[in-house]
């Protein structure tokens, strides 16, 4: 999780920043699902063979969150594409220097 945060802050490339955000999200999902685990339990599908099930509630929350996460990263990618169309680069430093030039 911290690795994702690290990628977001340190890399200059905007696409890599979006990917860092996705990694950050996925790590939080794994943490949530690990809370739902019950030792010796099985997947929460009711059968006659099992008595102990894992907790289905975090699974539902994460199911929703995964799909929302993909929507978020799609929006981020569209923003990156639009930035590339306007500035012809997606590196942060180059965009800053272009902005400075156009201000003069």
């Amino acid at each position: 999780m911290v690795g994702g945060l690290f990628i977001i802050i340190t890399s200059q490339n905007y696409l890599k920043k979006v990917i860092g955000l996705a990694i950050f999200q996925t790590a939080v999902f794994v943490f949530f699902v690990s809370l739902a685990k019950v030792l010796d339990g099985t997947a929460p599908i009711l059968t006659k063979m099992a008595n102990v099930y894992s907790n289905p509630l975090p699974h539902v929350l994460i199911l929703t969150a995964i799909v929302v996460g993909v929507a978020t990263s799609a929006l981020g990618l569209a923003l990156v594409l639009q930035i590339y169309r306007n500035y012809e680069t997606i590196e942060e430093k180059e965009i800053q220097s272009l902005e400075l030039k156009s201000d003069k």
Partner: protein, 188 residues
């Protein structure tokens, strides 16, 4: 014991993948590594008994989002090997956040403890009654579509809004500052 060993192995693979995503500069290989990352995550979900989540992660997380990223990376220029920015403050931030998280996790109930508070409230009723109510053996589906149907409705609205935003961004010409930049650069 086996369960913990598999988990440990998969999570160390995740860490290795994250390190290589951090180091690689070529965009298309970063995207491929991200696909591998999410696929590893779905293996972890299977190990943690969350089969529905593993399904969704494999289809949506490592399928659709990787396709979107490949489409974006094909239009973008090759990544450059630039200097890392904000290296020193981000190391401090990362170390302090991981310390805080480790302290918090040490205070949580043990992994797989059946008497943890999360397993005692609401969920036993779901497990007991949902089969009589809805006649579907999969409890996750019951909660997603029936008990918490409004959540799923909200999710659909979020996705619709995001889709509208993507279409608006990709088709708009009003933001076009490229011409301004070209004019300015020509003047100099």
């Amino acid at each position: 014991m086996n369960f913990l060993l598999i988990n440990f192995f998969l999570i160390s693979l995740l860490l290795v993948t994250t390190f290589f995503i951090f180091k690689t500069t070529s965009l298309i290989s970063v995207v491929a590594l991200t696909g591998a990352f999410t696929l590893l995550c779905s293996a972890i979900y299977v190990n943690l008994d969350a089969v529905d989540v593993a399904f969704t992660e494999a289809a949506v997380g490592s399928g659709i989002s990787t396709i979107l990223m490949v489409m974006a990376a094909a239009k973008l220029p090759e990544g450059k090997k630039n200097k890392l920015i904000n290296l020193f403050p981000s190391i401090i931030l990362a170390v302090s956040i991981s310390l805080i998280l480790i302290i918090i996790i040490a205070n949580l109930p043990l992994l797989g403890d059946p008497n943890a508070p999360i397993h005692l409230h609401v969920v036993p009723e779901y497990l007991k009654e949902s089969k009589d109510f809805f006649h579907i053996p999969n409890v996750v589906t019951n909660i997603l579509a029936s008990y918490r149907g409004f959540d799923t409705l909200g999710e659909t609205i979020v996705i619709f809004t995001a889709g509208l935003g993507v279409i608006a961004l990709l088709t708009s010409n009003t933001l076009n500052r490229k011409t301004n930049f070209k004019k300015n650069n020509k003047k100099k």
